[in-house]
């Protein structure tokens, strides 16, 4: 179990979602195992010992998204409603806990809320997230909450009231990164040409999976990848981490003569529909953050649609890339994405992520995703500067 703890601590630091000096992981076997920042341990111990869970992550995001969010949130607000659909689907709302509501000696409020939800936002601490089965689950829940506050904080900055100079300064390293460090299109070394045979397909999928995570186009255990090869489809399994797909790819016959692929990604239905309608050979699905944020922006003023993320029937565009609504799995993506993705070879699902297709290999979809995300990063900065000239 201690190996699991060390593995996910390393992942939290590698993906940039947690400060290495402010990260604690705790796990319960027949005894309590602790790892990480000493100053967070008393609180972590006090909480996990009162909960019927296996694991707990307590960590502070590397950038002060939570501080910024709290500044711009009504003090009476008790929870954050995620704007991104993945977090909204799996975590619903995320409780907010203020400084005066808890201490290591009196963690009752945190225990109560973590007894109800998988993750909470804690002023002065960061994010606390639990896992009831594995350490990995606490890591996934932490990542979901982190993704949610990243998306919501940056989306809110584009809305009134415009952020102050001081607020903008809190995220200066991010603005510099957006200005100076576009995502590199590291695709040249990916396998090229038609992928023939199981071994080649699996190898190509593992390669592009690792690269998609390395380029931060997807976090945690989200996203999925598939490749059509003859009368078979190869697709990443549900809950698989794209950076370690070895042993986590299902082979699904097109004629459904086997159901062994019951463990395939929840987006199998969407992938199949895309293959059917476009003739593509490969599909890459990630959650690049700025594409997600910009997909939420809508210029409509007199629209009466509620729950746009699932109910909006319109096609909007990011540059030339179509944006459509649709719920996960059997809930709408499979209906809305296939008709539009062929236009540019890439499509965005409102508040969710990006699907990109390739005619032969994964070079084309990865490049399309990188290009779209870089465009969205530039566009985000442009929009922010237009409402904050002092930036």
């Amino acid at each position: 179990m201690i190996r699991q703890i060390e593995r996910y601590a390393a992942k939290l630091h590698a993906d940039g979602s947690a400060r290495p000096d402010r990260t604690t992981l705790l796990a319960r076997d027949d005894r309590l195992l602790c790892w990480g920042a000493e100053e967070l341990l008393p609180l972590g111990k006090a909480v996990i010992e009162r909960l019927n869970v296996i694991s707990l992550v307590v960590a502070e995001p590397q950038l002060p998204f939570l501080e910024l969010l709290l500044r711009r949130t009504d003090p009476a607000t008790a929870e954050l409603i995620p704007l991104d659909t993945e977090t909204r689907t799996f975590l619903h709302d995320i409780p907010l806990v203020r400084k005066g509501e808890f201490s290591a000696s009196d963690p009752q409020r945190l225990v109560e809320l973590l007894g109800q939800r998988k993750g909470v936002l804690v002023e002065g601490v960061g994010i606390m997230a639990t896992g009831s089965v594995t350490v990995e689950q606490a890591y996934i829940n932490y990542s979901s909450v982190y993704h949610a506050i990243f998306v919501k904080t940056l989306y809110d900055l584009l809305k009134a009231p415009s952020p102050t100079r001081e607020e903008l300064a809190l995220l200066r390293p991010l603005w510099e990164q957006l200005r100076l460090q576009p995502i590199e299109a590291l695709t040249d070394d990916l396998q090229r040409g038609g992928l023939a045979g199981k071994a080649q397909v699996l190898s190509a999928m593992q390669q592009v999976g690792e690269r998609t995570v390395a380029l931060k186009l997807v976090d945690s255990f989200f996203g999925n990848i598939s490749c059509r090869c003859g009368d078979q489809l190869y697709i990443s399994q549900t809950g698989a981490s794209l950076e370690s797909l070895a042993g986590c790819i299902d082979q699904v016959p097109n004629d459904n003569s086997s159901t062994a692929g019951i463990t395939a990604s929840s987006e199998l239905i969407a992938h199949r529909a895309i293959f059917r309608q476009t003739g593509a050979a490969t599909i890459l699905h990630g959650h690049p953050k700025f594409s997600v944020i910009l997909s939420l922006l809508c210029e409509e003023t007199a629209c009466r649609i509620a729950d746009c993320w699932k109910n909006c029937a319109k096609i909007r565009y990011l540059k030339d890339v179509p944006v459509v609504a649709g719920e996960i799995g059997a809930g709408g993506i499979a209906k809305n994405v296939p008709p539009v993705i062929g236009q540019e070879g890439v499509a965005v699902v409102y508040g969710h992520g990006v699907f990109a297709i390739g005619e032969e290999d994964f070079h084309q979809p990865l490049l399309a995703m990188v290009n779209l995300e870089n465009w969205c990063r530039e566009e985000y900065l442009r929009r922010l500067q237009s409402c904050c000239p002092q930036m």
Binding site: M1, Q4, A27, R28, D29, D30, L51, N52, V53, I54, T89, F90, H92, V111, E112, L114, G115, Q116, R117, K118, G131, S132, V133, T134, V135, E136, Q137, I140, F221, Q237, T238, G239, A240, V252, N256, S257, S258, T259, A260, G261, I262, T263, A264, S265, S266, L268, I269, R272, E327, I328, G329, A330, G331
Partner: protein
Amino acid sequence: MTGWHGRLLNVDLTSGRIWPEALPAELLQTYLGGRGLGVRLLRDYYQLDPFAAELPLIFAAGPLCGTAAPTAARLSVVSRSPLTGTIYDCSAGGRFAWRLKAAGYDALKIVGRSSSPVVLRVRPDGGKLLPAEKLWGEPIGTTVKALADHGSVAAIGPAGENRVLYANIMMGEGNSVGRGGLGAVMGGKNLKALTVSGEQKVAIVDRQRFDEARQDIIRLFKASPVIFGDLGIAEYGTPALVDLMAQRRMAPTENFRKTIFSAADHYSGPAIRKAYQPKNHGCYGCPIQCKKSMQDGTPLPEYETVNHFGALNGIDDLRSIVNSNNLCNQLGMDTISAAASISAWGEVNGRFPRAEEIGALLQAIARREGEGELLAQGAARLTRQLGRPELSMSVKGLELPAYDPRGAYGMALAYCTSNRGGCHLRAYPISHEILRKPVPTDRFDFAGKARMIKIAEDCNATIDSLVACKFSFFGASLEEYAELLAATTGVEYSPQSLKEIGERIYLTERYYNQQLGFSAEHDMLPERFFSEPGSSGDGIEVPPIERARFVEEREKYYRIRGLNERGEFNENYLERQP
């Protein structure tokens, strides 16, 4: 009080007296319903012999039954198992539970023994015993048809009448109260069937909150490949697992001598679809509709059934398997235990029965005729009587289902810590070890499994008390069901508080079992799994389970549960419980 009616109907079959009784709100809020309520109501009776007339047979619905809560139109039947000797419960769907709530009762508590066969008819104005001599001996289909005008039916078949130790109570829609032989308990009371009818609605305190939670659950179902995926159970039913278990090399074959059967594709989900073009059906109001039936409505077999009447007996004939399933349903008999008993008997005899022999054997078992007398006692007793007890693939006398423990170590531990014997559903680690929900775990590693099993047992005790279907939890979690429960009852619950309730239920059962003589030596797998490998291949090694590591994890489990090294309580657990 909403969600619950606060009313129990007592039935004494010996005297014929039937009377309602108020159930205190505190008791219902603390034990919820279903399994939890039934287990609590057995506190003064659990030491009685399974066939003692005074032993109650309890039918208990849950607080969500009668609402639009997904998969909650279920009940649990609770008593003591004649097969295992443990406290026993089994949950079942269909329409019966929903009708019971509509009749205005949360539960039925049936004691005594009628001097002649009877049917219990329950309506909002109370219950009535009707003569049933003409139905005695009839199969389930005939019985259900004869009683259809009275409402929803739960009945026993010839197996229950003849006290086959794994006789089922069958719901009129084909769902079963299976495994532990509660049909035999019902037969011992001379109770052929129950009917329930009514129109009473279940009120909901906060409709908007309820609807939002329900929508969240449906969204999670849609996001679950196991439920609504192209290859999931809504499409293929549970036989969708046949191909997966073959691929993982953990499909019990020839009484668990092997873990792969080369002809499993003869009865896989796609094979059944091709052969029968099944219709979807399911429990009342359930959006998943995982049950599959022939065009004439005859239920098609579940995963456990196809494997055990297939691979476990070396049979590759789908028609024979479907016929075996239908026969068990009509005779009122558990398919897993029936097939496993036949398989164990086959290994003792040195020959597994041929497909064409199975039908006659099932008939003989239900009527306790010829070889059926021995087979009706289950694998543990029959192998003991034949001098080969090591060939019973069971834990606490309950025959193991269709997940070989050598292929999933959490499952290995959970079979043993289950309070009702070798059951996959108490902790259901297949969910994460094989189906990757809510997250995947390493199936060949014991690390962390003790606490995972403990938490899952607590969760599932809650789920069985709500009463909801465990398949819901391939998508949703207690988080959403706590919302539904709070919205329905107006009493605030959280996943944490529900798990505490589940823990209380689990430990109560464990305490009962301890008083009945169960201890660490009963929390043990058959020797075969520690000494013989499974069928390795395709890059998957299936070695025997390392006994020392198993015992180490079991000891961890005891510590986590607060039990001593013998898996026992150091004090009277019930003294502190409401």
